[in-house]
Symmetry: C2
Subunit: 198 residues, 2 copies
């Protein structure tokens, strides 16, 4: 992975603060999966925490509960189709058919995380490695998982020194995705500084 | 409020799904306040629920706990400055000085919600009226509040029939805001359909 740069933990929340859709990756004892999640957010600065909704019916849920960890990968515009498909296909069915896994099915290549079993997805623009902070009531009642971010990474073409670099010169294919419903996405748009004169 | 249209509850999550920054409004027995929150997300479809982080130090926290309700207002680009200021000023100080409230301080006009005490903010592009689902552990340990959405509204110039209408003809001033840090915002960008041919 060229362009992979470390993000200091105190700035990790900035990867999620603007509300991108993420791909949740997970792995346990050789099984692995990926799902899309529009429902995630930062939950604390330092140590950084995140919240993410992982439905009981998902194969990801099984792997996250078994491994106690997951990763949030921030897909970019170039990955909208696999991101959409990751939300529509079940990794459990692929596993049951011994038909490979969902990464292979979707053409997503991965690389190893530094702190968790979950693989990280090549071509994404940000990555948060997370350990589950067990909250059985939240998990059961709301499908809500809380994780502590134990390592974070970004593509240094679009995020460096704690700041997103998106501007009019940025390759649009590298912009973060923001899902609505039914295949409809936005990419993140114009950056501006509300402290500057209009 | 012209352009105010009802959003059916089953579609209310779509107001938050793409990750906008919100203004949390609250009121209790004549006191009212507003704060900015980048940390909110949908939590369920039907009945719709949301999660939002409300720090213990805030005046909003006091009013939300006292009233058991709040509203999430989606500010647009035209409101970036008051949205930023809403995150930087304390309503408690204004209240202590009998110097009016933060809505007045920020020049934000309001109108009455239909189901909750919290006022709704004019000029926003979406509104979710929420009743707190009490979760004392989450509130204490994570500053995390869960609310059930009991009514939702949108500006029908930008959201109608359950869909965001943003396109190249949309007034940029009406686009949703996505906060990063230090006064740096994005507006939501290009809409596209990932199910269509490229």
């Amino acid at each position: 992975m060229s362009h992979l740069a470390h993000v200091e933990l105190a700035k990790a929340y900035r990867l999620l603060n603007h509300g991108p859709t993420v791909l949740v990756s997970s792995a346990h004892r050789g099984r692995r999966n990926v799902m899309a999640a529009a429902w995630s957010m930062p939950l604390d600065f330092q140590p950084p925490k995140v919240a993410v909704v992982i439905d009981k019916s998902t194969y990801t849920r099984e792997l996250v509960e078994a491994s106690g960890s997951f990763a949030l990968n921030l897909p970019c515009r170039a990955q909208a189709r696999p991101a959409l498909a990751a939300g529509n296909q079940s990794g459990r069915e692929l596993a049951a058919q011994a038909a490979g896994d969902k990464f292979q099915e979707l053409g997503l290549r991965t690389f190893a995380a530094s702190q968790v079993e979950a693989p990280l997805i090549e071509g994404c623009v940000g990555w948060l490695e997370c350990r589950v902070l067990p909250e059985p009531h939240n998990q059961q009642a709301y499908d809500l998982f809380i994780g502590e971010v134990v390592a974070a990474w970004a593509d240094d073409r679009v995020f460096a020194n704690g700041h997103w670099l998106y501007d009019q010169q940025t390759d649009p294919a590298l912009r973060t995705l923001h899902y609505v419903a039914g295949g409809a996405f936005f990419t993140i748009g114009e950056a501006f500084d509300a402290t500057s004169p209009l």
